[in-house]
Symmetry: C2
């Protein structure tokens, strides 16, 4: 039996991404966002939603570029800090002792410490309500050598990404493997024919 | 040191959501999507990207409504099947023995078996490239009584959502708790002042 909980932004899971931009003074600014995801395979694109009140909103729209950093589980404190502090009040990158690196492809910085980074140029901005959804084309993905497997692909157990659970307001790491995608369901498919 | 991997739709993590729609004949159709997420808090909205070639694309645009089902870890085979089979060829709901329930709020069905369900009406469609990004307003969230905690909020450890890892093509469950959001980073914030 299902119970109605009313309209609310509640679904599992949401990612934890660190959005990198330059402010008007050219200082690197970062902000953590979870209303975000991959939204197109060709061209490869991500979407990130921001409130107009955030410092990042103005930075991103002015330079029409941003980066996405995927933090590792051992960076949960820094990622959370990037979500609660404002770039208007504090230099968040300096505050945690991280290093901003200028992208050579887009007008935005990324953090050297992030194991996986996406460099994005702004393609679309869609005003929805409290949040504006930004679509960025991924012009490059960069990964730390240390997180790559023997075939040169990022190993999730080395990147160690984590998720944010809305309302529960908890960060959780990756758990047990449940199966290979486009594979574990095929038996059922054959069985149905 | 970072290595360039080129432009590709690779980031962690992405959700696993079962999108419910009615086809032209009024039959319930489901499809699994991971290019999706929450994209606005007010009004509460989700975004889901679909290729035009999918059966769901036509269903969703015709009825301007859809549901999001968050499957549980013990439904990984069914969820994967919903992603590899096409509603043009098979009645996916019947094939796995699940039950479609008509939403009383939007013109779309959801699966009784999903622990958490969002009922959405289409607000925006943004053509990006291979994928079109659909924004749906969440008009209600429904949860199985059994997954609610004592305060009436869904308990992530009862819902047991899982994530999809692009390129690795693996499904993973929820892992260890890493901290409370808007909290674990505050010490660092105070320390920076």
């Amino acid at each position: 039996m299902k119970r109605s909980l009313g309209p609310r932004p509640l679904a599992y899971t949401t990612p934890v991404w660190v959005i990198g931009t330059y402010d008007a003074g050219g200082r690197a600014n970062v902000m953590t966002a979870s209303w975000a995801g991959i939204c197109c395979s060709k061209p490869p694109c991500v979407n990130v939603s921001l409130r107009r009140a955030t410092y990042t909103y103005g930075c991103l729209t002015a330079r029409r570029a941003f980066t996405v950093g995927v933090p590792s589980a051992d960076q949960v404190r820094e990622a959370d800090f990037f979500g609660v502090a404002s770039g208007r009040e504090v230099d968040k990158v300096a505050a945690v002792g991280f290093t901003a690196v200028a992208s050579d492809l887009v007008d935005a910085p990324y953090l050297a410490e992030m194991p996986l980074v996406l460099e994005c140029r702004l393609l679309h901005a869609l005003e929805i309500g409290l949040h504006t959804l930004f679509v960025g084309e991924i012009v490059d993905v960069k990964a730390e050598e240390a997180v790559l497997d023997a075939t040169g692909v990022p190993d999730p157990d080395r990147v160690r990404p984590f998720v944010y659970l809305p309302e529960a307001q908890r960060y959780r790491g990756l758990g047990a493997e449940l199966g290979r995608a486009f594979s574990v369901g095929r038996e059922r498919r054959r069985g149905s024919r």
